[in-house]
């Protein structure tokens, strides 16, 4: 009995070792490691279909696909990048989040790939610029989406309202909806990045995109009276009871339920909101540009760009180039646009079959004078965390919040973070 067990155990161990060795050897050959944050249902399906298409066409150099929860990925990626072997291709965000890795030499210069694939001509110049750091291109921007004021058409119509186009109209809309017993605007701030959208748009509408982006780049002061004005306007919205109470109790998807159930009318959100809206309500969902506050200011919009990059430690440069070329092709961007409604970054993607919402979104972005990424992508990670915390503190008690104290604390953070950056 004991002997049998031993023999069985030995065979099992031998098989296991053989599997590991074989896998290891073949992995060294041609495997392309792809690490992805597309964990939400819709994007995940699209992601898996993309890898399946590649693996079918390229059985000789298969992609090993691993998906990590979206929020966890943002933290785990740093260990991925210094691991051996590092993933060859990774999903990531344009802007400061990308610059962080480029500065530390963890991303590969992709200019040979851009050259080889002719991307300097086939990608919109603004997106090539977004991928550029110094001389090289380090990012493949494949899609973007817009932020806007989403609303339920039926609720607005039932109360004789249209989407507010100015600040006064926004406040009046809140008053009308409140009188009708409807929550004017829903928001879930348990994860406080949703509040940053309000800061971004208020700041761009009151002070203009130029001031906003300089603030993001830590070149303007948080105690500037222009930032104080942003909080004054923000507080007016609470004076008019525009927002859902206890917003910090809800994730953004949970707050969306109030809108799905018809209890709330509006939501300032990115277009991924439509991934989480039931089909029967999606037809009742419309969006407009965030209202104008100071008509003299240029119009800015948040339109975050997503994409891919190649780790500097990639052990399979050839494979990674080929896979990135595939991901960045017109065909794949077309698939992503058709399946998820994201907007393509290439100039040669056929947009004639796009939905009405997509066409409207493209118009929104194109009519804007300035395209920002988003608070936590435009500024540095440490500043983003401090800012989001301050916004959360403000909206947890907007009537009594010590705005000046919050801003002084943010200003201290900004000075310290800017100094740390300069010292690197």
């Amino acid at each position: 009995m004991k002997k049998l067990l031993n023999r069985r155990f030995l065979i099992l161990a031998a098989v296991l070792i053989a599997v590991v060795v074989v896998a290891g050897v073949s992995a060294q050959d041609s495997l392309i490691r792809y690490a992805s944050y597309n964990s939400d249902e819709g994007p995940r399906g699209q992601d898996e279909a993309m890898v399946a298409r590649w693996n079918e066409a390229n059985p000789d150099q298969p992609v090993e696909h691993s998906t990590t929860d979206h929020e966890a990925f943002k933290q785990a990626i740093r260990t991925y990048l210094v691991a051996d072997p590092a993933p060859d291709v990774l999903t990531w965000f344009a802007g400061n989040r990308m610059a962080f890795f480029v500065d530390r030499g963890l991303a590969s210069d992709l200019s040979p790939l851009y050259e080889r694939e002719g991307w300097y001509d086939s990608y919109a110049p603004g997106f090539v610029a977004l991928a550029t750091a110094g001389e090289g291109q380090y990012f493949v921007p494949t899609s973007y989406y817009w932020w806007a004021m989403y609303f339920r058409k039926s609720i607005m119509e039932a109360n004789g309202l249209t989407a507010p186009a100015t600040w006064d109209e926004l406040l009046a809309t809140c008053d009308t909806l409140n009188a009708a017993g409807i929550i004017p605007i829903t928001i879930g701030t348990r994860a406080p990045w949703t509040a940053a959208a309000w800061f971004d748009f208020l700041n761009m509408r009151i002070n203009g995109p130029e001031f906003h982006i300089n603030l993001m780049l830590l070149k303007e002061s948080y105690t500037d009276e222009r930032v104080v004005a942003v909080f004054d306007h923000w507080r007016q919205l609470y004076e008019h009871n525009c927002f859902i109470p206890d917003s910090a109790a809800y994730e953004w998807q949970e707050a969306l339920d109030f809108m799905n159930r018809g209890e709330a009318a509006m939501y300032l959100m990115g277009d991924f909101i439509r991934d989480s809206v039931p089909d029967e309500i999606e037809s009742d969902l419309d969006f407009e540009m965030f209202p104008v506050i100071n008509p003299d200011m240029p119009i800015g919009i948040d339109a975050p760009t997503d994409g891919f990059f190649m780790s500097a430690a990639s052990g399979n440069v050839e494979g990674a180039y080929d896979f990135l070329a595939f991901i960045g092709s017109a065909e794949e961007q077309q698939f992503a646009a058709d399946n998820l409604g994201r907007l393509p970054t290439r100039l040669d993607v056929d947009t004639s079959g796009f939905t009405e919402a997509q066409q409207k979104g493209i118009g929104l972005v194109q009519s804007a004078d300035y395209v920002a990424q988003f608070y936590d992508r435009d500024t540095t990670p440490a500043m983003a965390e401090a800012g989001l915390n301050a916004f959360a503190e403000f909206i947890s008690d907007p009537m009594n919040a010590d705005v000046m104290g919050l801003l002084e604390s943010l200003e201290a953070d900004r000075v310290r973070i800017a100094a740390e950056q300069a010292g690197e």
């Binding site: 210094v82 109790a249 809800y250 503190e393 909206i395 947890s396």
Partner: protein, 319 residues
């Protein structure tokens, strides 16, 4: 007794010699593991706390050390709030679950009907992971449709239907979304779990009490309170030590529930040191600053636990 031969003594001596060496040989491997996985990382964290390491770049050399992180700690509001919240947490943990747990143990140590069932019910939360507990309680605290507010609003409506001068509540408190309630709400969930834990510890202690001592006290005419105060509670001394140490450690390492239920929000109102450290190190890419928070947490734990352990071990050895 005085007739022990020299040979016997020698044999004893030899035995002692052997015993002196062998345990250390056996200990060699665990000690090596202990050094590699406990001592070294602790010392390394202390080293990191003097650097500005971002978790990616090469680890700064010893000539780049500075006290910047510690200077920043003293002016950082978030640190102050987290520290204060840990202190509140510890005060609650040292009073509420300890008292309730001891009370439960005293009640269920008797032969009342269904004692076993009650014990299991109170112990049950311990088999759940903190993440599950946090998720359950987050739903209980949900402001609109959560269990707690449904009950509060329901009662207010009931009262309003009976007494005309009562106006029913439109909605209950925001709990986790309310700056002033968030920390206490999380602690509610933590205490719920901790009570069962303390109860089990005390129940184990009560089972091991010498019944003859209690009988003796009864024969001497002690009433219930005197019996508890003068006999049972002193005899439970070693258990009380364990409970206090466990409570202090559990309150200092509080992290899971905060991370799951509020992530320290709204705006840092329910943050604790462990969560603050985690966010700084893993979210803000400031491993150096995170390490300095960890060092403060370590110092705090040692400051509280070591004197207590030292005193108890000493007194226990005197028995």
């Amino acid at each position: 007794m005085t007739t022990i031969s020299a040979a016997q003594r020698a044999a004893q001596g030899e035995g002692r010699m052997r015993i002196n060496v062998t345990p250390y040989l056996f200990l060699l491997v665990p000690l090596a593991v202990y050094f590699v996985w406990i001592i070294f990382p602790t010392l390394f964290s202390i080293y990191l706390s003097f650097t500005n390491w971002d978790g990616i770049s090469p680890i700064p050399a010893p000539n780049a050390l500075s006290l910047d992180n510690y200077n920043r700690l003293f002016t950082d509001r978030d640190f102050g709030m987290s520290f204060g919240n840990n202190v509140k947490w510890m005060i609650v943990f040292l009073t509420v679950p300890t008292t309730v747990g001891l009370g439960l143990a005293m009640i269920f140590n008797t032969d009342i009907r269904g004692a076993r069932w009650f014990k299991i019910s109170f112990y049950a939360p311990l088999i759940l992971s903190f993440v599950v507990i946090g998720t359950i309680w987050a739903w209980i605290y949900e402001p609109r449709a959560g269990l707690l507010n449904s009950i509060i609003v329901g009662i207010s409506e009931l009262l309003a239907s009976i007494f005309p001068f009562v106006t029913p509540l439109e909605r209950g408190p925001g709990w986790l979304a309310d700056r002033n309630l968030a920390l206490w709400s999380i602690m509610g969930a933590a205490v719920w779990r901790q009570c069962g834990y303390v109860m089990i510890l005390y129940l184990a202690g009560l089972k091991n009490l010498d019944p003859s001592l209690i009988e003796a006290a009864r024969v001497d005419g002690a009433n219930g309170w005197q019996l508890f105060r003068r006999v049972i509670f002193p005899l439970l001394g070693p258990i009380t030590t364990v409970v206090i140490v466990v409570s202090v450690i559990d309150s200092l390492r509080a992290f899971d529930l905060v991370q799951v239920m509020t992530r320290g929000g709204p705006g840092g109102a329910s943050n604790v040191l462990a969560n603050f450290m985690y966010i700084e190190a893993f979210n803000n890419y400031s491993f150096g600053y995170g390490a300095s928070i960890a060092v403060v947490l370590l110092g705090l734990s040692l400051f509280i636990v070591v004197p207590y352990l030292y005193r108890t071990v000493k007194t226990e050895l005197e028995y």
